[in-house]
Amino acid sequence: MKKTSKTKNLLMAWSALGGIAAGLLGVSGQAMAQEVTVASWGGTYQEALRKAFYGPASKETGITIKDVTLKGIADVRLQVKANAVVWDVAELFGGGCEQARREDLSEPLDYSVIKTDGIPPQLVNSHWIAINSYSTVMAWNTDRVKNPPKNWAEFFDNKKVPGTRSISPQSVTVEMALLADGVPADKLYPLDLDRAFKKLAEFKPQVTTFWMTGAASTQLALSGEVDMLTMWTSRAQAAKNEGAKIDYTYEGALLGIQCLMVPKGAKNKANAMKVIASMLTPEIQANLPHHVAYSPINAKAMDTGKIPPELARTLNSSPENRAKQVVVDVMWWADHGQEVQERFDKLMK
């Protein structure tokens, strides 16, 4: 009698614990057969992707697309290393996809499914493929800045153009610093990091605040907290559309690409290939500029008739805008991404 009640006590206590643990782990082992999970950068950008890419691709393939947000390659690494891959497709930028390939974090893409017609061959890789092109520009508050900076040299010089500033301690800010320091655009790569960070260290005291996320840059622009800042065009154009007193220029902007990869061990690999293929078709690619100020990567999208000429002229990849910009070297970043971030961390302390 005593024995059993004691055992019962213990049993109850442990089974309660077990119940909690089961709840925490979420007993949702099996994924839906026709579902693919895609991770991207969130915010207004991902809203645009939902309308431009995910919706139509889902319709075309019959595969449900569930979209989630990521913060970068670390999220992919975490899932792969922990052997708990829940994403089927992840979107990274610049050298991120290539870096993932080198770290053996990605599955090879199936080019029997994915058609690459119209996509620049240097942006088609065994393990990743570009999906769109984006630009990082300088933007300013039209109320407070009557003579906006004409180039990075002026942006980096608050005597020339007075006002408060914000930049991001990451990625193409290095290119901006070198351009500001007088390096010609065609001699940019390989980037001279010592020179770039010397320039950034000098510039740092003039920076009111450093932004870390796209959302933060939008907030800074909308609230008028700073007079000029670097921004992604998706964010800058969205703010402008919302009526913010803000403008930006493609002059000296950095033109980069976003890319898709399939995390190693993804559960719905086959469907992931179908979804990627669908998002790269000219028809679906052509949806993008209607929702966000980025450009399709598939040149054939321009021939679909879905992009009127006046919209085509404003695209960041239009010949006119492209001429003003500097194209980011994806391979250089795949080699040096970690080193650059270490230097940024040191700069920020």
Partner: protein, 300 residues
């Protein structure tokens, strides 16, 4: 009647009557208590001690699974890490101090109020506590920014010409963190203050102590354990702060949690981040031991 055993009603009880059974009852109760506590202990072991040991283990391996001291060596080689640790402890100490300076009078006020009013004011302390940290942090951003409510008001009243730099710097970080942490100081302090007999202050007054003197010689020492508990709580929480300095610091206040996050995304292995965590944990333990030792010294 004359036996060694107790006598009652003329009966003699044998020595050690029922002693074995009573001892067995005591043992059984203890065993049951241990059994009931075992799930909690199991949780601590599985969810806290285990991961900590794993972290410690990870901090000695690189991405190729080789044993290495490189993650620790990097911390010593680069001055930046020293600066970040220093910033972390400095910010935590200042926030702890602010919380103590603001929270002590608040807790005192609460403790002196009639219970009904105290409960209402306590609600005021706790409501923000239930709001998401991120929401509160952004609320401060809205209040403190260049064209925020505070600056706009001050400018419109003509108190200042140019907006003050209240955010995107140390000031903003301290304001935000102090606001977040104050309940952690007030709650244990209030609980301690409620146990102080109000007659003690009267007694002190009747014996000749001015209100100030009575406070410092009687009330303060008796409330000090609650204050220390609150301060330790606040300080330790502050060490791990991430969101508030990230949003309100404007990149000027880099604390260790931000660097740990950076390290996770930057390096292919978790060793770097783990090593930072291990060092933070060790420094914290050392500081706590020293702190307890000093407060014990101070009390005697």
């Amino acid at each position: 009647m004359s036996g060694q055993g107790g006598t009652s009603l003329g009966l003699t009880a044998p020595a050690g009557l029922n002693a074995e059974g009573i001892a067995e009852d005591i043992r059984r109760e203890r065993r049951n208590l241990r059994l009931l506590a075992s799930p909690a202990l199991g949780l601590v072991l599985v969810l806290i001690i285990g991961p900590m040991l794993w972290l410690f283990y990870l901090s000695f391996y690189n991405e190729h699974g080789q044993f290495t001291f490189e993650h620790y060596a990097r911390m010593f080689d680069e001055g930046a890490y020293f600066t970040i640790f220093w910033t972390t402890f400095e910010v935590s100490a200042i926030v702890t101090l602010f919380c103590a300076l603001l929270g002590y009078p608040l807790a005192y006020l609460l403790a002196q109020m009639p219970a009904r009013w105290a409960n209402i004011v306590m609600l005021g302390v706790l409501v923000p506590f239930w709001t998401a940290l991120l929401v509160r942090t952004y609320a401060w951003l809205v209040l403190l920014q260049r064209r925020g409510l505070v600056n706009d008001t001050l400018v419109s009243w003509g108190i200042i010409d140019q907006p003050l730099a209240l955010v995107h710097n140390l000031t903003g970080t301290l304001i935000g963190m102090t606001h977040v942490m104050i309940p952690f100081l007030v709650l244990p302090l209030y609980a301690t203050m409620k146990t102080i007999d109000p007659n003690l202050l009267r007694a002190s007054g009747s014996l000749g102590a001015s209100p100030t003197r009575a406070f410092w010689s009687v009330y303060y020492p008796l409330s000090a354990p609650g204050l220390y508990a609150g301060m330790i709580l606040v300080f330790i929480f502050c060490l791990g702060f991430y969101v508030t300095p990230a949003v309100l610091g404007g990149g000027r206040v880099i604390m260790i949690a931000q660097r740990i996050d950076n390290s996770v995304s930057l390096y292919p292995s978790w060793g770097a981040a783990s090593a930072l965590g291990v060092v933070l944990l060790l420094i914290t333990i050392v500081l706590m031991v020293v702190g307890l030792w000093i407060s014990k010294l101070a009390r005697r």
